[in-house]
């Protein structure tokens, strides 16, 4: 029983970073209409920046904020210099983002090196409750993720900005006629999604070492989460992340462990076949115009 409860706790923490990157992707993909395959590398850059700042003596939680801001600025630059020119041709943007991901990987290798980077656990505590080991830093990651989810959810569903954004997705031309600065909103979403990737990278390196290639692995799960939940739907990304986390945790614990990734992807395929719009419904994603 202890082991089963431990697996449930594990699943929750597995889900956290995935949810964070999933939200970034679901916003950028579903609302801004940009398929940014380099989003995983944005997360990696956030992690590497955190590693560098913590190594230079900065407190982890301060470094986390700076990592988010740095990657947000990177997102701003990428949107203004690159993706802005492909808004009407999403496939061009997608291919460009693959190139950007490779460039970012090798830029990091040049600046630092190719080897794995890690930091000391910023908290370093393990709580044992009823035979279940709860790693304090993981609990903090879950808490930070929950706060970010709440802020994002209410920002998108309740704020004027969020309503205007959703109106832009439904009908860009009408939204523009109503005076909504759609282009600026797209930039804003891109920056916010990138900022989340930066924070995700910082949280990730607090739990696991990362390499310049970490992003290319996690991006697949990020897209899976956003598609399972429904593009552009923050609540959907949370549900998608939890579904994948539970499938991962329980299949690793009780199934054939070497197939853990396959179980998650089978679940994703089944959901997309049965509910193409995702579990909670969402936008149709980017459209060429």
């Amino acid at each position: 029983m202890d082991i089963f409860v431990q697996q449930l706790v594990n699943s929750l923490s597995v889900a956290s970073v995935t949810i964070l990157i999933g939200i970034g992707i679901t916003l950028i993909f579903g609302l801004a209409g940009i398929v940014n395959f380099a989003h995983g590398e944005f997360l990696m850059v956030g992690g590497m920046a955190t590693w560098f700042m913590v190594g230079a003596g900065m407190n982890f939680f301060v470094a986390l904020v700076f990592a988010g801001l740095l990657v947000g600025a990177l997102g701003f630059a990428a949107e203004r210099c690159l993706f802005r020119f492909t808004l009407n041709r999403p496939m061009n943007g997608f291919i460009m983002s693959i190139g950007l991901s490779v460039i970012l990987q090798h830029a990091i290798i040049r600046v630092f090196n190719e080897f794995q980077k890690s930091i000391t656990d910023p908290v370093g505590l393990v709580w044992t409750i009823g035979g279940v080991d709860i790693i304090a830093m993981r609990a903090i990651v879950v808490a930070i993720t929950a706060v970010i989810v709440a802020i994002t959810y209410f920002g998108i569903s309740r704020s004027r900005y969020g309503m205007a954004l959703r109106a832009s997705v439904s009908d860009r031309d009408t939204a523009e006629l109503m005076g909504i600065p759609v282009r600026r909103y797209v930039t804003g979403v891109f920056i916010y999604g990138s900022l989340l990737a930066g924070i995700g990278g910082a949280l990730m390196i607090s739990l696991f070492p990362i390499t310049p290639f970490t992003g290319s692995v996690i991006i697949i799960r990020g897209f899976a989460v956003s598609l399972i939940g429904g593009l552009g739907n923050v609540g959907g990304a949370v549900v998608g992340g939890l579904v994948l986390g539970l499938v991962d945790g329980l299949s690793a614990g009780y199934g054939y462990p070497e197939w853990t990734d396959a179980y998650s992807l089978v679940v994703m395929i089944l959901i997309l076949v049965l509910r193409p719009q995702g579990l909670l419904g969402g936008t149709l994603g980017p459209k060429a115009s």
Partner: protein, 410 residues
């Protein structure tokens, strides 16, 4: 007039000397195919680092004297971008367009085998540090007309490495545990190399009396906690993190936090990295390097080698020691060329390599190729004192004489 004659004589002498120098500096083209980008870059860069150091040292020492000529090594380094197709294209270019005499590389079995299909027919020697080549290097393949006649495996056969590692790990840990360990879990990435390597290691542990469970994880896993929780439920005496140093460095701290086992073995994690990461465990932990450790080697030659290797700008990483799977063979190859007396007789060079030995850095015992073109050398296994990051006790374990029961030795 006399002065003019003297001048002409001097000019002729100078020209003759220049020609002599030009002859003395003939080029020996050698190819290196390694990942300098893509996901294998940390292993690939070590091949390039070893090649650069060896070529520089050979050239600085005057080059290779073959017959009445002296050759300087000219390296042609190609990035395979961690892509088998790029490796094949690079091998074709090096063999057909540049005309290299030998190729060093590459990081992984599949790529090396693909390259051998190009180097073999062209009679270009290939040195590859993949123990899994043992699966294809057999009597037929290495025969005079075999497709791997010109390929040499510069890492010991896997049953040898597994055997010496298992023996070293168990011997170091037994003295630290309350009762002799009986139950081992081997935790390994589920890719082609992981499957091949763990199949030998499981047999080696069983031959040492261990009950072994094999738990495989998907490659690129970062959160190992569900799998480690499963292993904790198996109540093992030792968890052996096998094969991939990067994955091990990700999983091991998670295992410590979850208290998965009373002892651990980390394959491919150098004591230098253990120290650099400030890893610390309150239980006994053993480590082994491929093939010897840069962070704590008992051999002065190895220490000197790594000083020079890192001195050339190579980064310190879990795989830095892999460079020693490639370095010595430059000198051995040069020695074989000198003995044969010509650079254009690959069959004679192969024959010379097979009948000669070479005392290199990687092993205090001279290296020898067996009939399947494979070397044998010992494995270094270290134990870190509990609750420290920098106190190591290392031992060099010789490989067993024969494969364990159930291991066909391939």
């Amino acid at each position: 007039m006399r002065q003019l004659g003297l001048g002409l004589t001097m000019a002729a002498a100078g020209l003759a000397m220049a020609l002599q120098t030009a002859r003395a500096d003939e080029e020996l083209p050698i190819g290196v195919i390694a990942a300098q980008s893509g996901s294998f870059v940390s292993a690939g860069n070590t091949i390039v680092g070893a090649a650069n150091l060896a070529a520089q040292q050979i050239n600085d020492a005057g080059g290779i004297k073959v017959g009445d000529k002296t050759y300087k090594i000219k390296l042609y380094i190609r990035d395979n971008r961690t892509d088998v197709n790029v490796s094949i294209a690079a091998a074709r270019e090096l063999v057909n367009d540049i005309g290299v005499k030998a190729i060093w590389g590459t990081e992984t079995h599949d790529f090396s085998v693909s390259m051998a299909k190009i180097t073999g027919p062209a009679k270009v020697l290939q040195f590859s540090g993949n123990s899994s080549l043992g699966a294809v290097l057999d009597d037929k393949a290495v025969a005079d007309d075999g497709w791997l006649h010109y390929t040499f495996q510069s890492e010991p056969q896997e049953w040898q490495r597994s055997g010496s590692t298992a023996k070293g790990v168990l011997s170091l840990l037994t003295s630290q545990l309350k009762s002799p360990p009986k139950h081992s879990v081997v935790f390994v990435g589920n890719d082609a190399t992981g499957q091949y390597l763990s199949s030998h290691y499981v047999k080696a542990l069983e031959a040492e009396g261990q009950k072994v469970d094999l738990v495989q994880y998907p490659p690129d896993t970062t959160d190992f906690s569900p799998l480690l929780t499963r292993i904790k439920g198996m109540k093992p005496d030792i968890v052996h993190f096998w094969y991939n140093g990067d994955s091990t460095l990700t999983a091991f701290p998670q295992a410590l936090k979850l208290g998965v086992a009373p002892s651990y073995f980390l394959f491919g994690v150098d004591p230098g990295i253990y120290q650099e990461r400030s890893l610390k465990a309150d239980v006994p932990v053993t480590l082994s390097c491929v093939p010897v450790c840069w962070g704590s080697s008992p051999f002065p030659e190895v220490k000197q080698y790594f000083e020079k290797y890192f001195g050339l700008g190579a980064a310190k990483g879990p795989q830095s020691s892999v460079s020693l799977l490639y370095y010595d063979y430059f000198f051995w190859y040069a020695k074989a060329l000198e003995k044969v007396g010509k650079i254009d007789d690959p069959d004679a060079v192969v024959a010379e390599l097979l009948k000669s030995d070479y005392k290199g850095v990687v092993s205090p015992v001279p290296l020898v190729f067996n009939k399947h073109h494979q070397v044998t050398f010992a494995t270094e296994v270290c134990m870190v004192e509990p609750n420290t990051s920098d106190q190591f006790k290392c031992a060099v374990e010789q490989p067993p004489a024969a494969p364990p029961p159930g291991d066909n030795g391939g």
